[in-house]
Structure formats: C-alpha cells, structure tokens
C-alpha cells in the first residue's frame, strides 16, 4: 500500500514493515502503526513515520552512537507488552528534536523507543529516573547524565 510521509513523500510500504505501537506514542494515542524509514545508508538517524498520519513523522536516532554510557533497565511492564524474549531482538532509538542545526538539536533519553523486531511491536518507554531527561544536546554528549 502507498502512504504519505512527512519527509519521504509518498512511498510504498508492505505489511511486514509495520511496527505496531499498542498504546500509540505519548501525546498521540490514536496512531498505532508506524514504519521506520532510514535516512541514507550509513546514518544513525531514521524517521519513525505513522502510516495513517502524514504529519506524524519523528526523527529518531540510535542513542548509543552518541551517548556511549547510556544505559537503563527495562520495566517488566515493557518486556511483557512487547513480548520480549531475547534482548538481541530489540532495537532502541531516541526521538530527536531538531534545532537550527544538528549541534543545537536535542535527544530525548528519558523516553526511548523500544522495538521488538521479532514481534514487530514498539513502545515509547518512560524511564522513572532523574539520570536522563528529554533534552540532551547532541553536541555536548560528554555531559550526558548531568542535569541540563
């Protein structure tokens, strides 16, 4: 089927590529079906695009390429909801809030996007921690973990 996207114009997607977010994404509970559209071949960035809502396209990034020491425990509720059996089945992304340039863009490390590839299930998990917040600056990644 063809879908309209925020950044990639109209594209064709197949059912196998759809990731189901059972509770939507906080702020957007109605939209439950997304696809992950890469931005170029070797980029850490991609777009998490709703298949039903053209405007709902988030820039996401693999956080570990920027924040080497990023770590957290997954809540049992997330493991159950996403039917996670093996941690090699999951991919973790963070939503990026773009600024004027990449250097002033921020990454939400408090609410990682967890995707279980095997089951095609996804969720934005919310970490009950003060260690990470919603606006970690990409350029000063060394300051990760500090309040900002």
């Amino acid at each position: 089927m063809n879908i309209k996207t925020r950044y990639h114009e109209e594209i064709e997607v197949s059912k196998e590529d759809i990731i189901y977010f059972g509770s939507g994404i906080p702020g957007f509970p109605e939209d439950k079906e997304f696809i992950n559209l890469p931005l170029g071949m070797d980029s850490s960035f991609s777009i998490l695009q709703s298949i039903n809502n053209e405007e709902l396209g988030f820039v996401i990034a693999e956080p570990f390429s920027f924040f080497k020491e990023y770590e957290f425990d997954l809540d049992e509720s997330v493991i159950t909801q996403l039917k996670i059996k093996d941690k090699t089945d999951i991919i973790i992304y963070s939503i990026v809030t773009l600024g004027d340039s990449l250097a002033t863009s921020t990454v939400n490390l408090q609410a990682p996007i967890i995707i279980n590839k095997r089951e095609s299930l996804g969720k934005q998990a919310i970490l009950n921690t003060d260690k990470y917040h919603t606006k970690h600056v990409l350029a000063t990644k060394k300051q990760m973990g500090q309040e900002g």
Binding site: P26, G27, L56, F58, S77, Q81, T97, I126
Partner: protein, 69 residues
Amino acid sequence: MLVLTRRRNESVILNENIEITILEIDGDQVKVGIKAPKEVEILRKEIMVKIEEENMNALKGNHDLKKFF
C-alpha cells in the same frame, strides 16, 4: 472522578489486583504505596506530561532534512 476519603494505612483496591495504600501524611505531602502486578505501568503524571510535550516539540517546525544529514 470518584473521590474517596482514606486515613493513614487505609487502602483502595483497583481491578482486584492493584492496591494503593496511604502510608504517610505530612502537610501537603502524601506518601502512597502501590502494589501491582509487574506488567502494570506506574508513572508520575508530570513525567508523562513532559514526554508528551517533548513529542509535540519534536514535530514542530518544517525542517529540511538535507541540511542536517
């Protein structure tokens, strides 16, 4: 909204398997204990609101991605 009055050490039960107990009352602070199955997600509401706001922020503006990546 259902409103119930509880004293210290009294509880309410939700859905048969979630128990919320008032543990301590100190001025305008109340300490609440929650017993729930592991799969039940428990969040402070202000964190949830913060995440919703940041998700809205992330969708603002009309960025030309070619300038970024």
